[in-house]
Symmetry: C2
């Protein structure tokens, strides 16, 4: 149960949060990262720039929050096998990374990789959250007896995220990345069980 609010709707601050994120996503899809400005987001969201700067120190942090953070808050369900759960994780990663807002933002964000604040926020949110999901799946596989010990979650995370990322952004394969996810998950399960 969430806390009750004065008028039954969402509190104003939450509405502003949501308006900023959705305006950022719309502008990313329409025009990409390079031309996006905090002023344009404020105008689209119908708020002042100060409301944005109270939440995000930089454009990069705002874009990161809109494009990447919060897209996969679901925890992985127990699907009965390591392979099925790795497939679920890989499909979530593929869906996250192939969304239009992400495609518009990710290159620009990586270009700002010298910005320590963006890197910290990426590690604290996107990376930490996915890492926790990977850990949960590996722990369940150990509990089921599918694995004798838990592999390094950072390595497994890189094994799932990396190929999807490379497929989309580096190798630029023309095929649909979602068709690639089951193959990748099957290979990862085989690698971990070997």
């Amino acid at each position: 149960m969430s806390a009750p609010t004065a008028r039954g709707g969402r509190p104003r601050e939450e509405r502003v949060d949501a308006a900023i994120l959705s305006a950022t996503r719309e502008l990313l899809v329409e025009g990409g990262y390079a031309g996006l400005t905090v002023g344009a987001v404020a105008a689209r969201a119908g708020i002042g720039k100060a409301a944005i700067y109270r939440r995000y120190e930089t454009k990069q942090e705002m874009v990161f929050a809109a494009a990447v953070h919060g897209l996969d808050l679901e925890s992985p369900p127990d699907l009965g096998s390591l392979r099925a759960e790795l497939e679920w994780l890989t499909e979530v990663i593929a869906a996250t990374l192939s969304g239009p807002a992400v495609a518009g933002a990710l290159g620009g964000l990586l270009a700002d990789m010298s910005d320590d604040a963006v890197v910290s926020r990426m590690r604290e949110t996107f990376v930490a959250h996915q890492r926790a999901n990977v850990t949960a799946v590996l722990d369940r596989a150990v509990a089921r007896g599918e694995l004798t010990s838990r592999p390094d979650a950072a390595v497994v995370h890189a094994m799932l995220l990396g190929p999807v990322f490379a497929w989309l952004f580096v190798l630029r394969e023309p095929g649909d990345v979602r068709g690639f996810a089951p193959t990748l998950a099957r290979m990862a399960a085989a690698a971990l069980s070997a």
Copy 2:
């Protein structure tokens, strides 16, 4: 044997090629991608800008050639086993991507991923060359009887390149990526042999 040249040294055009690439790499390491200009590269190389534009249509193409292309022209040696050769490939990829010029350029290049000329050049050079190496390793494993049929080289390439890329640029793991390469290669060999 290379063709003889008039004065025993490298022909002038080759010297200019090399001067452009090395000036670009120096400036990438010193100042990163965003501030790098064709004019600064020309000045550092001691040539005119026209000599650069005869070779590369855009700054992006020049940076790509300097940072990525040509770093792994060696073909993978026959090391007697799929696992050893996958390890060799992964180490080459890790060394390529963790070089200082690449770290300075790659984010900026990915930010230009809407630039079709850069994407085409990346696919024709870096991707095609590494893909050929992956194919050679897989063919040898089939010839040795380690694999019953050749897996899709694009998938295997993504499995090797992707985690290294993610480790360095997305997950930003603090550990040395070269320690990660043997684990990744072992897992890939297990996945392919399963």
